[in-house]
């Protein structure tokens, strides 16, 4: 009994000491003054030095909170209970949040630096006229492959994936829109197709791909490619960049028939408390030198035209990260197809996974 009480007191004391240390740390980190801005972003998706710089310039104290999925983020915003001033959803989530009335229309009077964004990335179907969102990073879906493990195959076309010599060599990301969309693109259809005939055709074509598939997996794709465990993968450009920085042999290509163009975007959600601070932060992030430094840190493609001049020319000239006009014409952004259609995509994808040999 005595031992139990003693143990309990010891634990409580330890916790109290740690809390005091923590309060001191948090205090020394924060700026004086009650002006705070809460940014809700993906983890490691901003250069921490930029946050420090912003705090120095404005005197606003930034609280940086993180989420791991669009859906989780939306759940938190929808429920309220915490005051997020800014968040960074993907394009389909911008559309969903707009429909649920979770976003605040942006006042461009307060964001003069919007002029630095490439017009090509503005006014897209998921947010006409950019009423609610500003592109933060963008990228494509394509094929990352390792020529040293292959016998000279190239991937100008999606159809090259079906090459019989690639037996058990390819890994796919575990995502219905991506895989079915890839098959639709290979047939020359739109990756937003809602035509059941086209979808059936795409699903049937996928079945013939199964001998080449080694695995359908999530985040592990990057590791497998880095360690030369897989030679070919269907993957987003961001992850491909990670692979290439680690394994020099790997290269990335967006096939000619076209592919998906994805975005993560800055929005101001309904939970905003410090709207002026939010505009200041957005405007700050749109500065060419800030956007360039951020792109350099995160390693994704920036939509900021002026920032391109400040980045490593080699990177900017790299078709894999910044495809030229001609290649861009074949890229499509995912549209929200509605729940029923999404169900159809998921069913077809499941059917494909179950039939894999």
């Amino acid at each position: 009994m005595k031992a139990l009480v003693r143990g309990a007191i010891l634990i409580a004391a330890t916790a109290a000491i740690l809390m005091i240390i923590n309060a001191q740390l948090a205090k020394s980190g924060a700026q004086s003054g009650g002006n705070t801005l809460t940014v809700y972003n993906w983890g490691e998706y901003i250069d921490p030095d930029l946050i420090k710089q912003f705090e120095k310039e404005t005197g606003i104290n930034v609280i940086y909170e993180t989420f791991d999925s669009n859906e989780g983020m939306m759940g938190k915003i929808e429920q309220g209970g915490t005051s997020y001033d800014l968040t960074v959803p993907s394009e389909y989530m911008v559309e969903m949040m707009r429909e649920k009335d979770l976003l605040i229309p942006l006042d461009y009077e307060k964001i003069p630096n919007i002029k630095n964004i490439d017009p090509y990335f503005m006014n897209l179907p998921f947010d006409p006229d950019n009423t609610y969102s500003i592109p933060y990073f963008w990228g494509t879906l394509g094929i990352a492959y390792n020529p040293t493990l292959l016998e000279g195959q190239t991937f100008e076309s999606w159809d090259n994936l079906w090459d019989p010599s690639l037996k058990q060599e390819a890994v796919l990301v575990d995502s219905a829109r991506e895989v079915i969309g890839m098959s639709l693109n290979s047939l020359g259809y739109s990756l937003n197709s809602t035509n059941l005939g086209e979808l059936r055709e795409a699903a049937d074509k996928l079945k013939t791909l199964s001998p080449n598939i080694k695995a359908v997996i999530g985040d592990e794709v990057t590791q497998m490619m880095m360690n030369n465990e897989a030679a070919v993968s269907l993957i987003w450009s961001g992850q491909a960049a990670d692979m290439m920085s680690e394994n020099e042999d790997i290269t990335y290509v967006v096939p000619d028939e076209g592919s998906n163009l994805w975005f993560d975007n800055i929005v101001i959600p309904k939970t905003v408390k410090n709207i002026d601070g939010a505009y200041e932060f957005i405007n700050f992030m749109l500065r060419p030198e800030v956007a360039a430094q951020n792109a350099d840190y995160v390693g994704y493609s920036t939509p900021n035209v002026k920032a391109l001049d400040l980045l490593d020319p080699e990177v900017v000239a790299d078709e894999r990260y910044y495809p030229d006009e001609a290649a861009r014409d074949h890229l499509e952004v995912y549209k929200d197809l509605g729940l029923e259609m999404l169900g159809t995509y998921n069913e077809l994808f499941l059917e494909f996974k179950m039939n894999m040999k």
Partner: protein, 266 residues
């Protein structure tokens, strides 16, 4: 066992190797200057320096530890009381109902528990942050403690209490001198299990963090977009060393030779 005394040792070593290999793999790459976990370039301390430079990360780690300690402590107290109550219930139907309710909490998915806590806290008006995380961790740890303590109570012979009563023990003394000492191993097991549950829980915690308060698991899971950094490896290495140090320290303290001068025996 005498004749093949080597075999169990070899087996045990193999099991420990399998268990510890991933941890050492993590720690090994925390010294890698390359920046990822695929091939080792050269030795560096930079990731450890990065841990100490990153004030935000240190605050998050301390948050995590504080929440784990307090939630384990409080849920152990409540859980032990609950287990004793359930065990000595006269009404059998009631007892079974209680046990089933406890089991339901054990098996329900974390995501659902987390989401319902979020709804509850926002309805009641509890601000998301330290309090909400602590409360939810206490809540999901209680059933674990109950499950750990109940078998010990069932093991205890009822004659033990009868004997204590015959010897003139009061109800309070029975509790403190008979029941609690007997179930102590269960209490400790429950406490440490609650501690580990709290330390690595992501699904529930994600929903109830907010207003600048975050825990380590939420932070690490959120790195899904760009990959986990080696700073986290370095942090894992530090946590491992500190934990090992605490366990060794405890071992030496509890095994130290007892000198008669160490205090009056009671």
């Amino acid at each position: 066992m005498e004749r093949n005394g080597k075999l169990p040792k070899i087996y045990l070593t193999a099991v420990f190797l399998v268990l510890y290999a991933p941890i050492f793999y993590l720690i090994f790459y925390s010294f890698n200057s390359g920046g990822t976990m695929s091939h080792f370039e050269s030795f560096t301390w930079e990731h450890y320096a990065a841990v100490f430079e990153d004030k935000r990360l240190i605050v998050i780690v301390l948050n995590t530890v504080v929440v784990a300690l307090l939630s384990a402590l409080i849920s152990t107290a409540i859980g032990v009381m609950g287990a004793i109550t359930i065990h000595y219930m006269k009404n059998k139907a009631m007892r079974n109902a209680m046990l089933s309710m406890n089991s339901i909490l054990m098996v329900s998915p974390d995501v659902i528990i987390g989401a319902s806590f979020l709804i509850l806290f926002t309805l009641v008006g509890i601000k998301l942050g330290f309090a909400s995380v602590l409360l939810s961790h206490i809540a999901f740890s209680i059933p674990i403690v109950v499950i750990m303590v109940l078998p010990k109570l069932q093991e205890m012979s009822p004659t033990l209490i009868d004997a204590a009563l015959d010897l003139g023990a009061t109800r309070k003394e029975i509790m403190s001198r008979v029941i609690l000492p007997f179930i102590k191993p269960g209490i400790f097991a429950g406490f440490f299990l609650a501690l580990t549950y709290s330390l690595d829980d992501f699904a529930v915690t994600f929903f109830v963090t907010g207003n600048g308060f975050s825990t380590l698991s939420v932070e690490i899971y959120s790195m899904a977009r760009t990959g986990v950094t080696l700073t986290i490896n370095a942090l894992s290495g530090l946590i491992f060393v500190i934990t090992a140090g605490l366990i060794l320290g405890y071992y030496f303290i509890s095994n130290r030779p007892k000198t008669p001068a160490a205090g009056v025996k009671r």
